[in-house]
């Protein structure tokens, strides 16, 4: 049991990072901190995917022509994560642009203060 848990250390690290990211997103009031938390959370998911694709004794999925009986690691999760990284960057960039705009309007990055300062639309 203990060995089973320990040997999956990549997954454990991914879960810990996920919770750190989620915690940062929820507990910090600063908007940029929230975005950092989002990024940590995203990378933890990527780490989980890549770990899932790992195969013992596997080589990187670049085929060396003419060699046989080579074990390659699972390329599909890697292909998916390539897409997901781009998505994460896009969301981050847009969130940062919003942050800049919010700062221009309210002069603060504190989520609570922004909520106080906000006026209801009429």
């Amino acid at each position: 049991m203990i060995y089973q848990v320990i040997s999956q250390y990549n997954y454990i690290a991914a879960v810990i990072l996920f919770f750190i990211g989620l915690y940062t997103m929820i507990s910090r009031k600063n908007l940029i901190k929230k975005i950092i938390g989002l990024n940590i959370m995203d990378t933890s998911v990527f780490l989980f995917f890549i770990s899932m694709g790992s195969v013992e004794g596997g080589k990187a999925p670049i085929i060396v022509l003419g060699s046989e009986n080579v074990i390659y690691v699972n390329p599909l999760p890697q292909a998916l994560i390539l897409t997901a990284i781009v998505v994460a960057v896009s969301v981050t960039a847009f969130a940062l642009a919003l942050t800049v705009k919010l700062y221009g309007d309210y002069g603060t990055l504190d989520a609570d203060k922004i909520r106080e300062l906000r006026e209801e639309p009429g």
Binding site: A60, I62, I85, V86, L96, A97, V100
Partner: protein
């Protein structure tokens, strides 16, 4: 903007080589690790480097607004490459099945549609990376 001549001169001399390396990554995407996204990101980073060292106007001068508009829309080419499949009587985005020659595996000019798509994606990512940074960093937002 910096006044440091070490940074300035190094950035100036390195940028063409960084861009060349980015192109190398893009064009070897089907052979070695890397591809359109990675190479595009490298080229985009080289433009960001120029902007950080020499100021945003410099980069704007090198890549006009028209050019970046065109490059932003370069995804059109991706779709048009996809239409080759339909024109050939098979499905959207088909490569080998549409009769696009795959070449001899391992050659630089091989991989059928993959090489073309890598180039499209490379330009797209480079221009988007540049646009994202330049828009975000622009001093006067009007």
């Amino acid at each position: 903007m910096t006044e440091d001549i070490i940074v300035k001169t190094t950035a100036r001399l390195m940028t063409p080589f960084i861009q060349m390396f980015g192109l190398y990554i893009i064009l070897h995407g089907h052979l070695t690790p890397g591809g359109g996204f990675q190479g595009g990101a490298v080229i985009g980073a080289s433009m960001i480097l120029l902007a950080v060292v020499y100021g945003l106007e410099e980069g704007e001068k090198r890549m006009s607004h028209d050019l970046s508009t065109v490059l932003e829309s370069s995804t059109i080419v991706y779709v048009l490459i996809g239409f080759i499949g339909i024109a050939a009587g098979v499905n959207f985005l088909a490569s080998g099945a549409a009769g696009i020659p795959l070449g001899r595996p391992g050659d630089l000019l091989s991989g059928g549609m993959i090489l073309a798509l890598n180039i499209v994606i490379g330009f797209k990512v480079a221009s988007t990376g540049k646009t994202l940074f330049y828009t975000l960093a622009k001093e006067d937002e009007g």
